[in-house]
């Protein structure tokens, strides 16, 4: 069809024009991508933990993060506490939230088909988003910390201060989580439940309890990530769903159930999107993330750092 030829020609992803993009731009963009990616990674970490252990696909992940962000905003407006200081309390609140949700709502759904879990969490997501809309209104809200506009200059490199702090916090929280799973009794027990459900039951572990614990941890993670993200973006009730999708892309790329994988996936996606935005049309940069997702799904579904599914 003659009509297709112009169509194909116009689906062009523009490359940058003639001006040579200076090398330091690449460096800046890359560093920015890595830092942002670390925060995304923490967000995805919660999802990875939940799916890796409880085997529930949390489609309300982004919405839970939005909830945490709004709690942070409320506390900030009331007490003027820096978000990073509020990290632990908010993560704790989210832990309780996640725990309760798991016990009350999700437990019966663990054995049910995927689409049922999906619907349940979609419903939870709808309730959260619209509850936030009713409570806080649709206007964009943000926290104004004193260092919101700071940046560090190291030679040609300009590093965004808030991104740096958020990334550092993300690494610290991830390390704490990792340590928990590696070195504590509860953590080991949870890993046992994940590896072998029946075996765990046999040795007398209260699997339901640990599932709840895990969901709570996952919620705490995403809550912490949300608080950090608040330093970088502003929040509206409708923010959630896009982040749920992003979390899935990262988790699958990095490896479901693998914690370092989630961070690595986050960095990879953050970096890819940043470079794609630089080299091609920024409005299409998400396409690259999805392209990577498809490749991973096809060629290495367990993700970069995941273990081959049993």
């Amino acid at each position: 069809m003659a009509g297709l030829v112009p169509a194909i020609r116009v689906l062009r992803i523009e490359k940058t024009r003639d001006q040579a993009v200076p090398a330091d731009i690449y460096l800046n963009v890359a560093v920015g991508g890595v830092l942002t990616g670390l925060v995304y990674g923490l967000m995805a970490l919660g999802l990875s933990v939940i799916f890796g252990v409880v085997r529930v696909v949390n489609f309300a992940h982004g919405e839970m993060m939005t909830l945490a962000m709004y709690i942070a905003i409320t506390l900030f407006t009331a007490f003027h506490l820096d978000p990073l200081v509020m990290l632990v309390p908010i993560a704790s609140v989210m832990f309780v939230f996640g725990y309760v949700v798991q016990v009350r709502l999700i437990n019966p759904f663990i054995t049910r088909p995927d689409y049922m879990q999906f619907l349940l969490l979609v419903a939870v997501g709808i309730i959260i988003v619209n509850g936030l809309l009713i409570t806080f209104g649709p206007d964009v809200k943000s926290v104004q910390v004193s260092y919101a506009f700071d940046s560090f200059q190291v030679g040609p490199l300009i590093i965004d201060a808030t991104k740096l702090y958020a990334a550092i916090a993300a690494i610290v929280v991830s390390a704490a989580l990792f340590a928990f799973f590696r070195y504590t009794r509860h953590g080991t027990a949870i890993r046992a439940c994940a590896d072998n459900y029946t075996g765990a039951l046999v040795v007398g572990l209260d699997v339901k309890q640990f599932y709840a614990l895990t969901f709570g941890l996952g919620a705490a993670c995403v809550g912490a990530a949300g608080v950090m993200l608040l330093l970088i973006v502003d929040v509206t009730p409708a923010l959630g769903p896009a982040y749920t999708l992003l979390a899935f892309v990262i988790v699958i790329t990095g490896g479901l159930g693998s914690m370092p994988g989630a961070l690595l996936g986050g960095v990879l996606i953050g970096l890819t999107e940043a470079m794609a935005g630089l080299l091609f049309t920024p409005s299409a940069k998400s396409m690259f993330a999805f392209a990577i997702l498809v490749l991973v799904l096809l060629l290495r579904p367990e993700g970069i750092m995941g273990k081959r599914a049993a």
Binding site: Q19, V29, N130, L133, D150, P282, S283
Partner: protein, 412 residues
């Protein structure tokens, strides 16, 4: 116009939630009869939930202040039936049908081009007048509708006036950028503007060249890459089409990446909105926005400003309020002239509208054969100390433009 057989759903509606404003203004609630002299039933369709909720609820403020102002102008009263399109075209269409079924005699809405287009079809098919408050996609008034009217400029019109106003400002301050980089969001409005530029720009002989066009995802969480690219072009000024979220993100990035363009020329919403001013404080001063706007020197604008201050203190009067109000003004004015709520009579009356004492910039509200008000002029606004000064066109301005942008790192 052949009307289709309908069974009207008569149901008492107690819209107490919204009626608080109405009752405060002393308007009688629900009238069953359609007798002349009764309030005209206007269905207001806006995205009050969903992703466009912020803008929809802002437009609603224009409805909130309408009753008192219309009464002061000696116009017949309107009874509003609010509907939420939920930012969804299916819902928009159903709500429009429902409103008509409940006896709405005129429809106003709906901010979004896609939803407005769906409602327009329902309105046209039923022979019910529909006044569009805000929607910039040109095709809506190119369909040959007889019942659809738009009191809002199309994207090409907005662009044309943006350039005219820019040249006026350049002349007034005696300076102009030689190069700009164009950052545009990739959504309906942004794309319409991007498409219109190649056709419109050459006609105006602008003093600058566009070094690069960077189109970005409007739901972007992070615009650092886009700003890096923009900075790398070496352009003097930033030409931008964005919305509120992106405007805030872009400004933060400009500050963090230590680049203050000579000026930010915005050809759309975002940079003048309350949230932008509140969130960024002193960093919000300076950008020039070119958008459909109100004429601050007109009497009606002052009345609207005062009414808004009473009902929603602390909120600056803006495009959403003014154009939504004007849609209602058109309805009330037509109702008065038509003397009846018959849809055909209303539509004819609307087509003959000639309101010179309006609020938006331009000679007034008149419609051409396609139902479009092609006389609207765009304005130039500048942020100054948390307030908005209209700096162009000269006849509608209430202040002088300041140039260039004060560097971000010098703002104490």
């Amino acid at each position: 116009m052949p009307r289709n057989k309908q069974t009207y759903q008569t149901r008492r509606r107690f819209n107490t939630g919204f009626a608080s404003a109405l009752l405060a203004a002393g308007i009688a609630p629900f009238n069953v009869g359609r007798a002349q002299g009764a309030a005209l039933k206007v269905g207001v369709l806006l995205p009050r939930s969903g992703y466009q909720a912020g803008i929809g609820q802002d437009c609603q403020r224009g409805v909130d202040i309408a009753t008192g102002v219309l009464k002061d102008l000696g116009l017949p009263s309107l009874q509003f039936i609010n509907a939420d399109t939920e930012s969804n075209v299916d819902v928009a269409r159903s709500r429009a049908e429902q409103l008509i079924g409940e006896g709405a005699q005129l429809l106003v809405g709906a901010f979004d081009s896609g939803q407005s287009s769906a409602i327009a079809q329902v309105a046209e098919q039923k022979g019910m007048p529909f006044v569009i408050n805000i929607a910039a996609a040109p095709p809506i008034t190119e369909q040959g509708y007889k019942f659809v009217f738009r009191n809002f400029p199309t994207a090409p019109m907005i662009l044309r006036d943006a350039f005219i106003d820019q040249k006026e400002i350049f002349a007034a301050v005696g300076a102009a950028p030689k190069s700009v980089v164009f950052l545009a969001e990739n959504d309906t409005f942004g794309v319409a503007m991007q498409k219109a530029i190649p056709g419109v720009l050459p006609k105006f002989d602008m003093p600058y060249t566009i070094l690069d066009t960077i189109s970005y995802d409007p739901t972007a969480r992070d615009l650092s890459v886009e700003v890096s690219r923009a900075k790398a072009t070496g352009a003097e000024a930033l030409l931008v089409v964005s919305r509120l979220n992106d405007a805030i993100l872009l400004t933060r990035e400009l500050i963090k990446q230590r680049w203050t363009p000579v000026m930010i020329l915005s050809m759309g919403p975002g940079w003048y909105e309350d949230q932008y001013l509140k969130t960024l404080g002193k960093f919000s001063d300076g950008p020039l926005s070119f958008a459909p706007w109100y004429d601050p020197n007109k009497k009606l604008s002052k009345a609207l400003d005062a009414a808004l201050a009473k009902v929603h203190p602390g909120v600056n009067l803006n495009t959403n309020h003014v154009y939504t109000f004007e849609a209602l003004l058109i309805a009330a004015d037509a109702y008065k002239r038509a003397g009846s709520s018959n849809p055909q009579a209303l539509a004819d009356a609307i087509r003959a509208t000639n309101i010179t004492d309006n609020s938006s910039i331009g000679p007034g509200i008149q419609f051409d054969a396609k139902g479009q008000n092609d006389k609207i002029l765009g304005g130039g606004i500048q942020n100054r100390n948390g307030k908005l000064i209209t700096v162009a066109p000269g006849a509608a301005s209430n202040g002088k433009p300041e140039w260039p942008l004060m560097p971000y790192n010098k703002r104490a």
